[in-house]
Amino acid sequence: MSEHEVTLTINGEKVTRSVEARTLLVHFIREDLSLTGTHIGCDTTSCGACTVLICGKPIKSCTMFAVQADGAEIETIESLAAGGELHPLQEGFWEKHGLQCGYCTPGMIMSAKGFLAENPNPTEDEIRHGISGNLCRCTGYNKIVEAIQYAAEKLQAADAGGE
């Protein structure tokens, strides 16, 4: 199996590794880089548990090869509270009970982060469509929607305060 060198930035840190061409990005993140917050829930690109941000866009990392991410900037769930303070999305999920088993949560939060970057002031319906690539079996989504609304408000208030 041919090996390739991959260099990318993940959560602000530059890493270089040699990987097989066929290594899925999600396995690279979880196994080569030991960042196990990103999960796997399917084999048909259906569940979104593996969602990470690549150059700010939510991507299902089970459907991309690690070699395709050469040169990319990747953010995973582990980057969000890196400064010791919870991100408004994390806060929202905790505050509003947006998670139960927690398995879908990292992917859900990363999807929401990408979505709010595009649409900082969404309606409930837009939020529901925005996370429709992510499955949650536990929560029934209502409280996930509330969590994202909470974060949207908080991020907007912070933006307004910063201007």
Binding site: H27, R30, E31, L86, L99, Q100, G102, R137
Partner: protein, 811 residues
């Protein structure tokens, strides 16, 4: 096979002194201040910080030095003879260490078969025949996931296809025998009855109105977002097997492993780490688990096995698959008098349901539901087919969803047939509040209920009468709008150990609480959360009882080396059993604390009274000792002759199950062009007795409702006539997203259980049980005037569209 003839009355008399009438309220009771945060507080979950930061620890996150990976070769046929398995090419590959076949397991001590939870048998790996599509054929052990996946493609299996039998009614004809390993050459597994046949027949003879319907409750799959998996780590030097496993019942699984493998039970440690959803799917022992453990034994190395989603959907335990024929009788006043039910349970290739062992059809005989009637008789037959085995819960108590769907559909059909409003019809037929504790015609003793209050509340919330007016106007314009009601009664919390066991192990559950000298505590349980929030709710229960702040209590579950023995978490049993054990253990601690307080305050125990977090001298409350002061004294200054320490363990055996209930109302609009059903509103009023944490209860109800919506409109596991699974990936098996899931509107009533020490009942599954008939009833309500009497779930657009076309509404 369990003999059930003597089981017609599952519950004999309850303990004396059980109070009869319990008043209903709608205020959550809060007795402790915020800083203690006992019962009733909307406490944010203690477990969340690790999950929202990606620091959960699920089985696939476990990485051990030198770990190997396992992958499984699966059958492309539902029924076939195996002539030979040639693994030589796989074994030649770099990185492949072993291929384990049925023959290997047989040689290792007949490990190629295992018992199911229903005391049937199931193949771990086959020797000569496969009985379902995607059945495990053999396993490859390799140094990486990728090599293992490559190697399974290099195993050549010579199959000789046999006729599949997919339809259970066909299977009953015994033309194709699924289990020719059995002495009796028949697919019929068991016959089970409840209720009084003669009395029921008599009621039907006298009936003024009888309605009949055939209902199919289709095969579905829990599909928790985390699939199943294991890391088995056998340490030869210590003769010790450590197992990380996606298990809802780690202790029971340890015992099963000990019995199957012959390893001594004290040398097996099962750790169920964070679990990514269970819903019943992580109760059974699957062949993959057994093979993985054997692989570690054989290689002496840790071995990881993680299912793919398609393997999970195709081979793991299904739920439901009940073919029901129901009849309901009513007298001339429209009062329901009787119910007669015959059911065929499609078990697949083994009876591997996760029911208490004396209940092959689970608690299905709860099917008289919320209605007072004279007589009922229920018969169920189990049959083998060439499909994967199962019969797990899908977020419900054992077979209660099937029962509730049937009775709620039948009550609705009867109401429509008699020309009565379905809400008024229910109000007229409910078991009245003054009839509790209520003895049902099939032998259940319902603990408490106020069905009227719940339905009336739901009707108020949704403004029922106005909706009926709107429906009339819409119908005049040719628009299709329906209103559906479900007033369900659940039965959860198995259970009293005289009736309930799994493989002989009684269904008690346990709590162990240790209070440290500085007043902080560790509590361990025999249950295992898969998202239910036990770390928070159990801490709140203990906080309520002992006055320790719930943040000072660490809750731990899932490690069989440290937790007390318990039967695990499923069927909404955690609060009814382990939650009660937490109360009882706390009360044992409190009794000792009282002695210590009396000693410290130099008064008699009789002079003391408890006040939230302290013992006070009666009449002079400033003379007091807090629980923290008492804990410190328990290690530093305890009375002479008393054992040091402050801890207790309790194995709680409930006197009865608990019977949560509720009323749901759903409004749908149907698109005449496409047959699509849109849920406009859905109001859910639940009553689960006293509430421990309203935030968590709401979350449980929301999640349960979406898992009730799923089989009502979207999910079904479908096979073709050869037994091939046509819905084996998440691209074909339609789990609802945030777009399909409506905005649920919740309400509550509170009718405490007199049979639980804090009056609580289970709740996580009520909505999964109650929601599907509300939705189905709404759709039929919209179409009744066209002559539609029943539609089997899932109610998909093609089904509705076909009905509309057949009735000339659309073309």
């Amino acid at each position: 096979m369990p003999q059930l003839d003597d089981r017609k009355e599952p519950h004999s008399e309850l303990a004396e002194g059980v109070s009869a009438r319990v008043p209903t309220t709608d205020e959550v009771q809060i007795k402790t201040p915020e800083k203690i945060c006992g019962m009733g507080h909307r406490k944010k979950r203690k477990e969340d910080p690790r999950f929202i930061q990606g620091k959960g620890n699920y089985v696939d996150d476990v990485k051990l030095p030198g770990m190997l990976y396992m992958d499984i070769v699966r059958s492309p046929y539902a029924h076939a003879k195996i002539n030979s398995i040639d693994a030589s090419a796989a074994l030649e590959m770099d990185g492949v260490l072993a291929v384990i076949t049925g023959e290997d397991l047989k040689a290792a001590g007949d490990l190629h078969w295992m018992p199911t939870l229903m005391s049937d048998t199931q193949m771990v790996l086959p020797i000569d025949k496969v009985v379902y599509y995607a059945q495990e054929i053999c396993a490859v052990i390799a140094t990486s996931r990728y090599i293992a996946a490559d190697a399974i493609e290099q195993v050549y299996v010579d199959y000789e296809p046999l006729d599949a039998v997919v339809d259970p009614f066909e299977a009953m004809k015994d033309k194709v025998i699924v289990r020719d390993d059995k002495e009796k050459k028949t697919n019929h597994i068991w016959h089970w009855e409840a209720g009084d046949k003669a009395a029921t027949d008599a009621v039907f003879k006298d009936a003024a109105t009888v309605v009949k319907e055939k209902l199919y409750i289709p095969r579905i799959h829990v599909s928790s977002i985390e699939t199943c998996g294991m890391v088995a780590n056998y340490n030869k030097a210590r003769s010790h097997m450590q197992i990380y496993m996606t298990s809802q019942a780690p202790h029971a699984h340890r015992t099963v492993f000990a019995l199957v493998s012959g390893l001594p039970e004290h040398k097996i440690q099962i750790i169920s780490p964070d679990i990514g959803g269970g819903f019943g799917g992580k109760v059974p022992v699957y062949p993959g688990y057994v093979i993985c453990a054997v692989a570690s034994l054989v290689t002496g190395k840790p071995v990881k096995w993680i299912e793919d989603r398609s393997e999970n959907l195709q081979a793991d335990s299904f739920a439901r698959d009940y073919h029901i024929e129901a009849e309901m009788a009513a007298d001339k006043n429209g009062k329901i008098t009787g119910l007669r039910v015959k059911t065929l349970s499609d078990c697949g290739a083994a009876d591997a349901a996760a029911n208490p062992s004396k209940f092959p059809a689970g608690l299905y005989s709860i099917c008289t539901g919320s209605y007072d009637m004279k007589a009922a008789h229920v018969e169920v037959d189990g049959v083998y087919t060439t499909k994967p085995p199962g019969g797990v819960a899908y977020r419900c108590s054992f077979r209660v969803t099937e029962a509730v769907h049937m009775i709620e559909r039948m009550a609705d059909i009867m109401a429509h047939q008699l020309g009565e409003d379905p809400a008024d019809y229910r109000l007229k037929n409910f078991i009245r509040p003054d009839q509790f504790p209520y003895k049902s015609p099939t032998g259940w003793e319902y603990d408490s209920g106020n069905y009227e209050a719940a339905l009336k509340k739901a009707m108020d919330m949704i403004d029922y009468r106005t909706l009926r007016e709107e429906q009339k106007q819409k119908r005049a314009k040719g628009e299709l709008m329906g209103i559906g009601i479900s007033s369900f009664t659940e039965v959860v919390g198995a259970g009293p150990s005289k009736d309930y066991d799994i493989l002989g192990i009684k269904m008690f559950d346990s709590a162990e609480i240790r209070i440290h000298p500085t007043g902080k505590a560790m509590a361990r349980f025999g249950t295992k959360s898969q998202g239910q929030g036990h770390e928070t709710t159990y801490a709140q229960i203990i906080a309520e009882e002992l006055g320790l702040p719930s943040d000072d209590i660490e809750v731990e579950e899932g490690d069989t080396d440290t937790a007390p023995y318990g039967l695990g978490t499923y069927a909404s049993r955690s609060t009814p059993t382990a939650g009660a054990a937490a109360v009882m253990a706390s009360r044992k601690i409190k009794a000792k604390a009282k002695k210590i307080a009396a000693h410290l305050l130099e008064v008699g125990e009789g002079d003391l009274e408890w006040n939230i977090d302290r013992f006070e001298v009666k009449g002079s409350p400033d003379q007091a000792k807090t629980i923290q002061e008492i804990a410190f004294a328990a290690y530093t200054n305890h009375p002479q002759g008393m054992e040091a320490g402050l801890e207790a363990v309790d194995y709680y055996d409930p006197p009865n199950l608990t019977f949560p209930f509720g009323s749901y109302i759903c409004v749908v609009d149907i698109d005449k062009g496409t047959g699509e059903v849109a849920i406009r509103r859905f109001v859910a009023v639940d009553d689960c007795g006293h509430i421990i944490n309203p935030l968590i209860v709401e979350g449980q109800i929301h999640g349960g409702l979406t898992m009730g919506l799923a089989p009502a409109l979207y999910e079904e596991i479908v096979y073709d006539e050869n037994g091939q699974n046509l819905t084996g990936t998440l691209a074909d098996y339609l789990v609802p997203t945030a777009v399909e899931s409506p905005k649920w509107e919740l309400g509550k009533t509170i009718t405490p259980s007199p049979h639980h020490p804090i009056g609580a009942k289970g709740v996580g599954e009520s909505p999964t049980v109650g929601a599907p008939p509300a939705i189905a009833n709404a759709v039929v309500d919209a179409l009744w005037h066209l002559g539609v009497r029943h539609i089997d779930i899932p109610i998909t657009p093609p089904k509705v569209w076909k009905l509309l076309r057949d009735n000339g509404v659309t073309d």
